[in-house]
Amino acid sequence: MVEFQYVRPNNVDGALAWLNEPGVKSRPLAGSTDMAILLRADPHLCDRVVDISLIPELHRIERRDDQVIIGAAATFSEVLENPLVQQTAPLLAQACRQVGAVQIRNMGTLGGNVCNAAACADSLPALVCLDALAHVRAADGERDWSVSELILSPNHTLVPPGGLLVSFRYRIPLPGSRSVFLKLGRRNALAISRLTVAALGRLDEQGRVAEVRIAAGAASPRFNRFKAAEDSLIGRLPTAELYQDAAHRVAEEMIHITGRRWSTEFKEPALEALVCRALALVFETPGSELQEGA
């Protein structure tokens, strides 16, 4: 019985060398919460697993000028506990906090969540809302993709064979920004997301919407911000009717992408309700704004 090989490189260069050895089907192993299940179902999934979960540079969470960099092997727990993330991107901390349960959060990684690219992955709408970029290194070089572009369809990303997603970065939202992540599941923990909504926004001095970003999860096979809905909000005074209108546009966009499916009868009204609630939280919750110089 041929078993797979397990290797644990100390750095990314080492990992890339293992992943790109010709003739050997290799896969990276991060938190293993997804991989362990795949391997249980198919022990012949690959010839070699390359454990990147302990490579120090892949866990770094730091600020560089106006950007926050997060190593791709940072666990959900590390991300949600990090003060920099909590201050600059509350929605990402909230998203990580609502993944599964503490055991899953202690092992699962942001990078693994993105690369597995499940339609219900919780980190994706938050990262998309942050216009996060994914930095990918491959044997022949490296490049960035927006997380939005990176996800092609459920379980399919642009990460090339032999490539490794090494970090994410997002520009720190402007002072006065608020963000929120809402998750709807069938129970309050260990729940696959039925729908998620990530929203970020900022009002100008007249109290009108200066900036707004909206993304959703478990709503469509790809992850993009809902531009039409966002545009409808810019420059307007936030009201319940305005949120309702924007929410309706989000639901319309979802149906435009997916068509009417068996679950649409539920997802359409539920998504609208969640978007309304998210926008109300973003534009009306006092005291949770990002401060100057954070």
Binding site: E3, F4, Y6, S32, R40, G100, V102, N106, A189
Partner: protein
């Protein structure tokens, strides 16, 4: 392959295929059956152990991943004289044990929580054990046991 790690404070070495889960290494290779299998897919927490101090589902950890690291199982949770520690005794006193199958995982979840948060609210306790399913107790007495232990440990620290 050979996997060397620290288990309940002592060095151990096992020989197992890379695909073996940590759960199976503990139960089959090392004969430590206190850690339980409930579902095999990380959805019930019966297999919970501490890995470098963090609560994880051992059914989802590939055994080689613990090489060079520290694992604590329920067999490593003991009072000074080798019997129940204060948290385990609180479980007994509060009626938090019925069939007992979730209990090892719950005890470890409680220990993991109290190590990072000595003054948890009941809601925080519930969040800390939300990944451990129990079908017998309805959770309340488990929350009571962890809460009582937190209070007792804080009081002890206060007097020292």
């Amino acid at each position: 392959m050979k996997i060397d790690f620290t288990l309940n404070g002592a060095s151990v070495s096992v020989e197992a295929p890379a695909s073996t889960s940590l759960l199976n290494v503990l139960r089959d290779n090392l004969g430590l059956t206190g850690t339980k299998q409930g579902c095999g897919i990380g959805e019930c927490g019966a297999c919970s152990v501490l890995l470098d101090g963090r609560l994880v589902n051992s059914c989802l950890v590939l055994a080689p991943q613990v090489g060079g690291r520290e694992v604590v199982t329920i067999e490593g949770v003991r009072g000074l004289e080798g019997g129940a520690n204060d948290l385990q005794q609180a479980f007994i006193d509060c009626g938090a044990v019925q069939c007992g199958y979730c209990t090892p995982g719950m005890v470890l979840a409680g220990e993991a929580l109290l190590a990072s948060n000595p003054q948890p609210s009941r809601q925080q306790i519930r969040e800390a054990i939300a990944g451990n399913l129990c079908r017998c107790t309805g959770y309340q007495q488990i929350v009571d046991a962890i809460e009582a232990t937190a209070r007792r440990r804080r009081a002890k620290v206060g007097h020292d």
